[in-house]
């Protein structure tokens, strides 16, 4: 009996029967109508669920035959795993949509009926194997869609609905004509029979028939340029209906397309082309879009096109289960995220993207919104991430490089407009309308989000990924999120403790370079978190994200497979982006960061895919067996990691981000996160370095590195904002590291790692010191500071140690880095690079002096008279870092030896130690002795001065007791030399650092938007134009 009730044919019967019953019941009892309606839907859902359970455990697909005759003479339905899954998903979406829209739907019982019949039509389309029957279900679905689109008599919706009718009717006309001709030639209406008798479809008639059917199906799949009507519908239809159209109806059509695909083998390249075009063009147009639902519409169109591409490109080439994994992952992701976003858009009732602001006030909504968008963009751990990864791997395996680029380009564009939307929603705008917290029913959104997490989990499980390291960071962050009510300091403490334990655990499992980076990054983060305790605010969300960041670094370091690496990379990108937005007005710059990071990630993904194509495995260790495209792969990695490092040309995100984010987080960004790029470089280098015979790529990289160093330093010279100055300085320092890495020999790599450690120590130190200063002075502009040495001697001392170390002046450890740098470069024969590096390091003096002078020396402002030393908790990490710097300065061997050993695995060591005496092929250096000599020569004059001073009366004077050309200084502001400090240098060399990169990227952005507007010219909004386009489309397909 139960089995009978769960027979798939019941789906149709239930729907029809309830459809008849509803108006009758409605006369008696309104509320029972609703109950009945939902019971019907739930029944359908249960049937599907039963199917899923049965078929996934291996049951054979059910063939339902009507009218007692066998096909082809009867209608038959097929109900297998795919069908049941899709029906289940669409039905669930339908139930939730109906629940959300209940108020509107139940006003008129006929809408309820229509909705039910609509669901039935969708399910019928999915199940039927008879092509004419398919036509009928298509028509049922279409008519219901038309009516439901315009059921609230909204003027826009009516226009859109009529356009949809024009397109839909044309589509079905083509479809019907095609079906009849196919029947004429094959004598059957059963799809399977037709596929089996494909040879019968010949001649002009056969060709025309297939083209007609194809056109009919494609129109409903909304490819560019015949989708103008659909976008209008998405924009104007009630949100729930739009959601259903976008996901459920599309699901049905996709499945129909998949069913009919065997008939269109000859058109597969063209369909791919159309889908590819649609994917890219829709995303280009999406860039220009400001209406939320239409934006989602473009995204929908693009996603469907992506799935079509996946199907057409991989169908028959990969196993069905893999194809199902890819398309299923993509589709499930689209289904859950897109429908939920449509609902959200409907509930919030904010038409334009610009109205989406102040979401920070409603953290729950923001969290859900962020998860949904992240899912759409394809960030981990959501299904699309895994699906896209697998798609890339498979495309690469089948040499579809062009398509890979297309997919990545489209994805990047989509990421741009979706994340821009997200970024805008974080904006704090002062206006009454949007500043109150949002009160909406988030149950359905929660369900979708949880479903996304679960499905992401499931898919990764299906892909055979070991889950614990991947999901641990997210779980830990979610766990910490539970304690978000605690005070900031407590949370910092908890985070620090967890991070220390986690680091300890991770470090036990790491070796070699990974271990060193692990120690550096994780321990560095722990030290910096200590600094985070200086603030009294609660800092909601900051610490969970920080933990996520740290643990994602752990994931990255532990990665044995490229998938794990990429996963960790993406997670790190995402968490660091979100952390940036804990700052006050970092939105714009952090958005740029995010976009560049997405671009970087896609480059890396592309490279991993190319590797996978050759090795067939995602093990990182297998990378060195590749035999072709080595240079290309390496270059892609380089670009990806250089973006993260802020290499020249890709650095435009960096200064803004560094200057706008929270001050203690900037230390982490500069000290830790930028090192991840270095780690990436070394990862690529260790695995690929040996395979590349062409030195050119390293040569280019080396030059890029030193030019970055030079221009980064030069840019830093001209900054007024202290954090921007340090940011450009970081760019310059990264330049040295890249150049050293590019040397591809032992000394070069040791230097690169040594410089990384150094940079972590001294730049972290300076950023922490300056964090205290900013905290006290409440400004980041250097010319508003000055003379703070008297108030904050400890911060000054930190900054002093930091700048001595950065500048490379002996005896501190910075010199070791510089010394090894030149030795390595001269050893390699890169003389001019060495010269340029020297120039860069000389320029570093300019900005370092400017920094320390304008902030700590010179004239103190009167309003800073009362300032006190930075908070104690900021000083502790500084002391730790100073101790580390001093220890490593005194005995460089303790630092260089492990680095050298780690690199010695890949290249033979060229460093020889005799005690503390270090020797390379050219030079030598004894850090310990140098330290002693310097101490000696420092003490000598000091003693002289002290002795002489005993006979002299020394008067301690105040800041205005200066020789001022016989005048007295007027104000500290006008006496302190700070603003435009290096005006003359700008006159001499400023033309080197015109913001060309910014201009370039601006023009890229401009060009993309122009591209978007050019593409959307075809959308005139006129139904007849759309009809003409459809006819033209048909003609073109016919003749191509």
């Amino acid at each position: 009996m139960v089995n009978e009730l769960l027979n798939p044919i019941i789906i149709i019967i239930v729907a029809l029967a309830t459809g008849f019953l509803l108006p009758i019941v409605d006369k008696k009892n309104k509320s029972f109508t609703v109950v009945l309606f939902f019971m019907a839907l739930i029944w359908i859902g249960l049937i599907a669920l039963n199917g899923v359970v049965n078929f996934s455990s291996g049951a054979v697909a059910v063939e339902v035959i009507t009218a007692g005759i066998s096909p082809p003479f009867s209608i038959n339905l097929q109900f297998g795993l795919f069908e049941s899954v899709i029906i289940l998903a669409t039905t669930l979406i339908a139930i939730m949509t109906a629940w959300l829209m209940l108020d509107q739907l139940k006003e008129n019982v006929s809408t309820l009926v229509l909705f039910l019949i609509w669901v039935m039509g969708i399910d019928g389309m999915i199940m039927t194997r008879d092509i004419f029957n398919l036509f009928i279900f298509i028509e049922i679905t279409a008519i219901c869609s038309f009516v439901l689109t315009g059921f609230n008599h909204n003027s826009n919706a009516l226009s859109a609905g009529f356009k949809a009718i024009i397109a839909g009717t044309l589509a079905s006309s083509f479809f019907l004509l095609g079906v009849m001709f196919l029947y004429y030639q094959t004598g059957t209406l059963n799809i399977d029979d037709m596929v089996n008798n494909q040879s019968l479809i010949t001649g002009v008639i056969g060709h025309a028939a297939l083209v007609m059917v194809l056109t009919g199906v494609l129109i409903e799949l909304k490819p560019y340029p015949i989708n103008g009507w659909a976008l209008d519908v998405y924009q104007s239809a009630p949100s729930g209906i739009a959601a259903m159209m976008s996901v459920s109806v599309s699901a049905a059509y996709l499945f129909v397309f998949y069913k009919l695909l065997p008939l269109f083998q000859a058109w597969v390249p063209m369909i791919t082309l159309i889908a590819g075009l649609t994917f890219v063009v829709s995303n280009f147009i999406g860039l220009k879009q400001t209406v939320v639902k239409r934006l989602l519409g473009y995204s929908s169109v693009a996603q469907i096109a992506l799935i079509i591409m996946a199907i057409t490109l991989l169908n028959g080439k990969v196993s069905v289960s893999l194809l199902a994994l890819i398309t299923g992952g993509l589709f499930l992701n689209h289904l859950l995220a897109k429908s939920a976003l449509f609902w959200l858009a409907g509930m919030l009732n904010k038409t334009h993207v610009a109205q989406w602001t102040n979401l920070k006030k409603s953290p729950v909504v923001l969290f859900l919104f962020g998860c949904l968008l992240a899912a759409l963009v394809g960030l981990p751990p959501f299904p699309a991430f895994w699906a896209k990864w697998e798609l890339m791997m498979q495309l690469a395996t089948h040499q579809q490089h062009g398509w890979m680029l297309l997919v990545l380009l489209g994805s990047l564009l989509e990421a741009v407009y979706l994340l821009r939307w997200f970024s805008g929603s974080l904006n704090d705008v002062k206006d009454e309308e949007s500043s109150s917290p949002i009160r909406i029913n988030t149950v359905t959104l929660w369900l979708s989000t949880v479903a996304l997490f679960v499905s992401g989990f499931t898919i990764s499980h299906l892909m055979g990924v070991s889950i614990t390291p991947l999901f641990a960071p997210i779980l830990a962050a979610l766990f910490l999120l539970l304690f978000d009510e605690l005070t900031g300091k407590t949370k910092a403490g908890i985070t620090c403790v967890i991070a220390v334990f986690y680091s300890y655990d991770i470090l036990l499992h790491l070796t070699g370079i990974n271990w060193i980076f692990g120690l550096m990054l994780l321990m560095g983060s722990c030290v910096f978190i200590l600094g985070s305790m200086y603030r009294d605010e609660q800092r909601r969300g900051y610490f969970p994200l920080l933990l996520l960041l740290i643990m994602s670094l752990g994931t990255l370091l532990q990665a044995k497979t490229s998938l794990n690496f990429f996963y960790g990379w993406e997670l790190m990108t995402m968490s660091s982006y979100l952390l940036m937005n804990c700052g006050k007005n970092a939105l714009k710059s952090s958005f740029i960061y995010l976009i560049f990071s997405m671009g970087a990630a896609y480059f890396i993904l592309f490279a991993f895919a190319l590797v996978f194509a050759q090795t067939g495995t995602i093990q990182l260790d297998a990378m060195n067996t590749i035999s072709q495209y080595q240079t290309l792969i390496f270059a892609c990695f380089m670009i990806g990691f250089l973006i993260k490092l802020g290499g020249l040309g890709f650095h435009v995100w960096l200064p803004g981000v560094y200057s706008e984010t929270e001050d203690d987080y900037t230390a982490i960004l500069s000290g830790v996160v930028s090192k991840v790029g270095v780690f990436g470089l070394l990862m690529a280098g260790t695995h690929l370095g040996q395979t590349i015979n062409d030195e050119m790529v390293f040569y280019v990289l080396g030059w890029l590195g030193v030019i970055t160093a030079l221009l980064g330093a030069l840019m830093a010279v001209f900054q007024e904002d202290v954090k921007k100055l340090l940011a450009y300085s970081s760019i310059g320092q990264m330049g040295y590291i890249v150049a050293c890495f590019a040397l591809m020999n032992h000394l070069g790599w040791v230097t690169a790692m040594y410089l990384s450690v150094n940079h972590l120590l001294y730049k972290g130190l300076i950023f922490l010191a300056i964090a205290g200063v900013i905290y006290r002075t409440q400004t980041t502009l250097m010319y508003k500071m000055g003379g703070l040495l008297k108030n904050m001697p400890m911060s000054f001392f930190s900054a002093l140690i930091g700048i001595i170390a950065i500048s490379g002046v002996p005896p501190l450890l910075g010199f070791g880095g510089k010394w090894m740098l030149y030795n390595a470069m001269i050893e390699k024969g890169w003389y001019f690079q060495a010269g340029m590096a020297f120039f860069a390091s000389a320029i570093a003096f300019l900005y370092l002096f400017r920094f320390i002078h304008t902030v700590f020396l010179g004239q103190r402002k009167s309003e800073h008279k009362e300032l006190v030393e930075a908070p104690f908790s900021l000083l502790i990490p500084q002391v730790l870092l100073i101790i580390a710097i001093m220890v490593f300065s005194l005995n460089a061997k303790w630092l260089i030896q492990p680095l050298s050993d780690a690199v010695a695995v890949y290249y033979p060591s060229t460093l020889t130690w005799t005690g503390t005496f270090l020797q390379t092929s050219q030079g030598y250096w004894d850090g310990y002795l140098v330290m002693n000599v310097v101490t000696g020569v420092f003490l000598l004059p000091l003693i002289i001065l002290l002795l002489v001073s005993t006979t002299t009366k020394i008067q301690k004077v105040k800041q205005f007791n200066i020789v001022y050309a016989a005048e007295r200084p007027d104000k500290p502001e006008t006496t302190h030399v700070a603003y435009n400090f290096y005006a003359f240098y700008e006159k001499a060399l400023g033309f080197w650092v015109k913001p060309r990169a910014t201009q370039f990227w601006n023009s890229v952005a401009e060009w993309s938007h122009t591209m978007g507007s050019a593409c959307r010219i075809l959308y005139t909004g006129n139904g007849q134009t759309y009809a003409s386009l459809i006819v033209l489309f048909f003609v073109i397909i016919y003749f191509v």
Binding site: S862, K865, K953, Q955, K958, F960, N961, A966, E967, R968
Partner: protein
Amino acid sequence: MKNEDNTFANNGLLPEEMDLFCNARPVPYEPYSIEVVEKFFNWMRANSLWIMAFGTGCGAIELNPLMTSRFDANRYGIQVRPTPRQSSVFVIGGYSSVKTLKRIIRSYEQMQGPKFVLALGICTINGGMYWDSYNTIKRLDHYIPVDVYITGCMPRPEALLSGFFELKRKIKAGECDGANRYVKNLDWYKDNQKRVIKKWDMPDYNW
């Protein structure tokens, strides 16, 4: 004028400027306790006269030829330093208006002891041709201690040189303690200064 802890009250300053200037009172320095040492240093002071490059009046024009080939004061260890911190000789170049006097005092106080003043021209002695000018001081030694006067209007560089020789002689003899005199009689000097300088918008002693 005085605070309880023997510092200056600095009444001329605005309240918010008080913290920007040092208000300590200078104290006189003692000669080296060993006489030979003192003599030795005096000899060196005499042979290393660093002039403060501040032309306070028309007489400054006579300083330029002093350094040229014709007179070559350089050979006597005389050279010009552009900052009062490093100079030891202040050559007052003739008449000094009240406005200039203020700058002279400021620069003089910024010089480090031992320091010497060479007053040039009749105007520094009794006002000279500006005897009835409402804007020119008549006696320089009422405002800062003067070691050597060179009279004339204008005295020629030769006269200047001979003035320097006199200064050297006095230094070697240990007679030039103008800086100490100034410090010891500071209140008298300050009274005189404040009597003519009505806009006293600086600390009482310019360190």
